[in-house]
Amino acid sequence: MEQAEAKAMEVIRQDAFDAAAFLDELASYPSGENIRSCMQCGVCTASCPLSSKMTETPRKIMEMIKTGMRNEVLASDTMWYCASCYACTVRCPQGISMAEVMYALRTIAMKTARNLSTSFYQSFSDTVRRYGRMHESDLMIRFALRTNPLSLLKMGPLGVRMLMKGKMNLMPPSAIRGAKEIARLYDKVAEMEGGA
């Protein structure tokens, strides 16, 4: 009974506000500098084709950022729903690039989180590192191995049809000539980020 009450309304004490650190962290990403100017109009939410599925709307995420709720923000599913369609960005009356903020949140979350989306993006990145280009079959296999290998079977029928339409190559792809360059680029970036 007491517990239920405590859950119903969580009082956030004023001294729990520590937004500056999180805002500074985001400010180190592109377009993360002007988050403070968000005026909570909700245009981002109402312009978003996927916001109806999010547990927190994009606008609410902005308010959570502004009040320093880092853990809650990174645990939310909002950013994984962003399709990068930039509808929010071109309409934001304060000129905030919400799409870039979502990228920043994903990038921060990628370091610790593990879900369907992080697996997909990591698989994509790995494929590009290996071949210099993206190959659907390689990507899908990597993705399935990271998540649920059985899902490959589910994808089967579509894959077969894609093959028949000449829209997919089954053969292991050959890497681009500059594949070594790409790998070195990955290493260099990792080095620059690790060294910072």
């Binding site: 005026m39 909570q40 109009c41 909700g42 245009v43 981002c44 939410t45 109402a46 312009s47 978003c48 916001s51 109806s52 927190e56 709307t57 606008r59 609410k60 071109v90 309409r91 934001c92 009356p93 304060q94 000129g95």
Partner: protein, 651 residues
């Protein structure tokens, strides 16, 4: 050779300066400068005790120069000049150092601000040392005032000046005075109809013998200065003899041509010969030559035939009026934001997405639907969405708040409920009901049935392709819920914007524009009607978005400003003009074509240039190019300015 005795007065301006600049150090620094015999600091130099310090020191120390280090001279130069004069010192022997606007307010660190303040004080002391006494001159003023723009601001200003017994020319571009207010239906917060309160003022303006009403007219050119502006006005040909026309309206009835009526925001029709609305002042029609059949084909002339007093004049020509005015009031109003630039609102694409002004016309009893709020197909709406902040509070369009939209929206919500059975969805970001009785009005409307206030900015309006209805998308931000609201009418409360020709008008009248494009006042808070051009005042929405009460207030205020000029009967002319030191003049004549006022001529007998000081305005362009240094601008001469440059550079 000892220099003149100088007193330096350093102002704290409360904490405005003292917080950033070390007052003790600055005072002591000033005291060490050559020729400075006394230096003091004080909390508020502009206060009476502050000024008294200066006056007392002039006597006690026999001060010959005064330097005040405080705010911008644009703020208090007159104050301290007067203090010196009262204290017995020629006011032109006072110099200011701007250590607030250009030092304490713009510098991050105290050390830098103090260093800069010292440099500015040294610079001012350097100049003060070289100043000379000058005497103001005055010239007579033409007692007429020109008012440009016949909306409620211009009408109000014209009436106030005329009622004080002074002559006014009221120039209006449209065929009738009345401006945007004439289009409105009910006005917040009292809901009295706009026409009921505006028409009497329009009629008074037309009937007052002190007011010369020039409608369908535009100012073409302005020259001269405060007290004596030379103005050229083009009164466009109406095609109707105003003296003969009795306003019977027969011509409009019989004219066969129909075109969209601008006054009805494109929703109704008018004829090619027309008055824009029934209460127009003057109630005399104009012929729209672009659409009139006679001007296109040379045939028709129906209006001419049916006119009982035979007032139609197809061959009438534009009339050019040249007049002299002592003061000018610019009250040219605003332009509603065009929402078709943002495709997300669907304006221009969906029939029943309309602007606030279009709603006013629908709701107005003399409008195209006779006061009924109807959809394009003539049926009554069942649900209406009202959007705030369309084109305002949005950095993609205009960053500023347009001030009137919250109240207008609340009013619309009420009018929709009064006139239809429709549900109303009012989508707001913040409800700004700042004026007298505004919050009370809002509270009354909030209590009405079936009006839903939703906190969120309307993001887009889509058509349901299957039902054809409109969908408004908004986040109900208080709940964190994405709403898609089906409606059949959307009212966009669009921003008030500067008029598209604001730049041209600003240049014509020598006024400036602020970053938002509106005309720039001399001081945002304290001189809202004055401009940088003395004798030219601004009033109403050409200065910034505002509601009717504030617009009327500014109209009256601008009238007071103009009366101040014409009542005095004379204006002080600055003595800081150029002079020629004949012994130095080589007679090269380089200065003569440089003068924009043709104030310099050549004395053939003496072989030297001559300055006509009545024409000279003291810009100094001539002095800057005089190779022999013969041309000298009083109060801004080479030695004074060079010594100032020395002052700001030294450490």
């Amino acid at each position: 050779m000892p220099g003149p005795k100088i007193g330096v007065y350093v102002c704290h301006c409360g904490s405005n300066i003292a917080d950033k600049v070390d007052m003790d150090a600055l005072r002591d620094f000033a005291g060490e400068l050559p020729d400075v015999v006394v230096s003091r600091d004080y909390k508020y130099m502009c206060s009476d005790p502050g000024q008294d310090l200066i006056k007392a020191d002039i006597k006690e120390y026999g001060l010959e120069r005064v330097v005040v280090a405080s705010c911008s001279p644009r703020m208090h130069e007159p104050t301290f000049k007067r203090a010196c004069e009262v204290g017995g010192l020629n006011p032109y022997l006072m110099e200011m150092a701007n250590i607030r606007e250009q030092c304490s307010w713009v510098t991050v660190d105290r050390g830098g601000a103090t260093r800069k303040a010292k440099a500015l004080v040294r610079s001012a002391v350097n100049k003060a040392r070289l100043l000379e006494p000058l005497e103001d001159k005055s010239v007579p003023v033409d007692p007429k005032t020109l008012i440009v723009g016949g909306g409620i601001a211009g009408i109000e200003a014209a009436l106030k000046i005329a009622e004080a017994g002074y002559k006014v020319y009221l120039v209006e571009r449209e065929p009738s005075i009345g401006g945007q207010m004439a289009k409105l239906d009910k006005t917040f917060p009292t809901l009295d109809c706009a026409a009921c309160i505006l028409t009497p003022k329009m009629v008074s303006a037309a009937q007052n013998p002190n007011i010369t009403l020039l409608t369908y007219a535009e100012v073409e050119d302005v020259s001269g200065y405060v007290g004596n502006f030379e103005v050229t006005i083009r009164k466009r040909a109406r095609g109707v003899d105003e003296k003969l026309c009795n306003g019977c309206g027969t011509c409009q009835e019989k004219c066969p041509i129909k075109v969209p009526n601008e006054f009805e925001e494109g929703m109704g029709l008018r004829k090619a010969i027309y008055t824009p609305f029934p209460q127009a002042v003057p109630n005399k029609p104009v012929i729209d030559r672009e659409n009139c059949t006679y001007y296109k084909t040379g045939k028709c002339r129906v209006c001419e035939r049916v006119c009982p007093p035979q007032a139609v004049r197809f061959d009438q020509e534009d009339e050019i009026i040249k007049e002299r005015f002592g003061a000018i009031i610019v009250s040219t109003g605003y332009q509603p934001f065009d929402p078709s630039v943002g495709k997300q609102w669907g304006f221009g694409r969906y029939d029943n997405v309309i602007t606030g002004l279009q709603f006013e016309r629908l709701s107005n009893a003399s409008g195209p639907t006779g006061g009924k709020v109807l959809l394009k197909d003539g049926t009554e709406p069942k649900a209406v969405a009202i959007l705030h902040c369309v084109g305002s509070r949005d950095k993609n369009y205009n960053e500023y708040c347009s001030r009137i939209c919250c109240m207008t929206s609340v009013k619309f919500a009420h009018l929709v409920r009064e006139k239809t059975g429709a549900k109303v969805y009012d989508l707001y970001m913040d409800m700004r009901t700042f004026g007298k009785q505004y919050e009370e009005f809002y509270n009354r409307v909030v209590a009405e049935r079936d009006i839903y206030f939703i906190r969120g900015k309307g993001a887009e309006i889509m058509e349901d392709p299957v039902s054809g209805g409109l969908l408004v998308r908004v986040e109900d931000t208080l709940l964190g819920v994405f709403r898609e609201i089906p409606v059949d009418m959307v009212v966009l409360n669009v921003a008030m914007c500067p008029r598209p020709d604001a730049q041209e008008v600003a240049q014509k009248f020598g006024i400036q524009r602020s970053a938002d494009g509106f005309f720039l006042e001399y001081h945002l808070k304290l001189e809202p009607m004055k401009t940088a051009n003395e004798g030219v005042f601004i009033a109403g929405t050409c200065q910034a978005p505002k509601d009717i009460p504030d617009t009327v207030g500014q109209g009256a205020g601008a009238a007071a400003e103009a009366l101040k000029v014409v009542l005095l009967g004379k204006v002080t002319v600055t003595p800081t003009t150029a002079e020629i030191r004949e012994t130095l003049c080589s007679g090269c004549r380089m200065c003569i074509p440089l003068c924009p006022y043709t104030a310099i001529s050549f004395n053939e007998a003496k072989g030297v240039a001559v300055v006509n000081e009545a024409l000279c305005k003291g810009c100094g362009t001539c002095a800057a190019s005089c190779p022999s240094g013969a041309l000298r601008v009083r109060h801004f001469d080479n030695r004074q300015l060079l010594s100032q440059i020395e002052g700001v550079c030294a450490e």
